[in-house]
């Protein structure tokens, strides 16, 4: 049961890390890269956000596999 609390903490940490990454790096992307066109900036931001979400889902899937392997022994 403690493992499930740990799993939830990991998921929480992943959500907070994603939020932090989006605020620090993705939100100010236009000014960081010197792009002034809002549509282009938005498209790049959306692309990064989607890649990040897919990456996090893959990471969570790996953690899930490790966890279920150790818990359910299947």
């Amino acid at each position: 049961m403690m493992g499930l609390f740990g799993f939830i903490v990991v998921m929480w940490a992943i959500v907070l890390s994603a939020c932090g990454f989006l605020i620090i790096f993705v939100a100010p992307l236009g000014s960081l890269l010197g792009i002034h066109d809002r549509v282009t900036t938005s498209l790049i931001q959306a692309l990064i956000a989607i890649i990040m979400v897919v990456g996090l889902v893959i990471l969570l899937d790996r953690i899930k596999k490790l966890y279920t392997l150790s818990k359910l022994k299947i």
């Binding site: 609390f5 939830i8 998921m11 605020i23 620090i24 938005s42 899930k64 359910l72």
Partner: protein, 307 residues
Amino acid sequence: MPKSIKSLKSKGQVVKDYHKPGKPDIPRPAGPVLLLGIASTEVILYILTLSNAVLAILLTTLIGFTVGIVDDRKIMPGWFKPLVLVAAAVPIILLGAHGNYLNLVFGSVFIPILYIPLILVIIPVIGNTINSIDVLNGMASSSVIIALIPILASVLLFGNVYVFLAGLPLLAGTLAFYKYHRYPSRIFPGDSGTLLMGAMLGAIAIAGKSEIIAVIALLPAVMNSFLFLSSMKKIVEHREVKARPTMLTDDFKLMASKDKKAPVTLLRLILADGPLTEKDIIKQVTKLAIFSSALAFISIYIQSLFV
């Protein structure tokens, strides 16, 4: 609720509770009576405030309920609920109940266009998340009640007071329903009840600028959906799954399946340490829900430092 239980029983609208000795017949669905209580309060609130956010929440709830009642009456394919629930997100967009900023705990981002596809995803995801946690007595309603406390606190802090007021009927309605849904259940919510609660919760989170807080507060339910989807690799109805994730022992305890083809669910992981009674599993899920709500409150505190 007692009248509804009596009426459903007399009409023969019952399903078996397979986890109890004798498999008793339990009336289902409670969605219509839940909607009656919640929607009537929302209509009064709309008349008093004329707030577009309140109207959007009401319409989203109605559409969520309609999708659920169709599924209650007729067995629909796995894609039906997630796809049709997208329609429940439309009132939020058309009535402009969403903001242009997305709160991301450490600050907010201005995403006026990107927000729209996000809304079309959030409502079906939260609706189905609540729907898929409804596996044991009282689990869906208790999960909603526990998650609503930090969500409403967040709405009051970061959203607006009308959305907060619009969220109170869901809390009151679910609390009243929980009295009859908790172990041992006297009525089941059905898809109409769970999708109503899920769609409304999603609408409150969006209109109240509390999407991330809602995700954190609902982590056990989100985890359950993620585990199921990740092991099935596609959207599929629970009733279509041939290899069951849990099995019932002779002494009416639930135990985790050892079948490799069975989907991994929250319940199966809870039972990995050994068989448990239905009541004990519900206690464990409640503990996880309270823990997630505590994490949501910590996140609200962090967010308050950056506003």
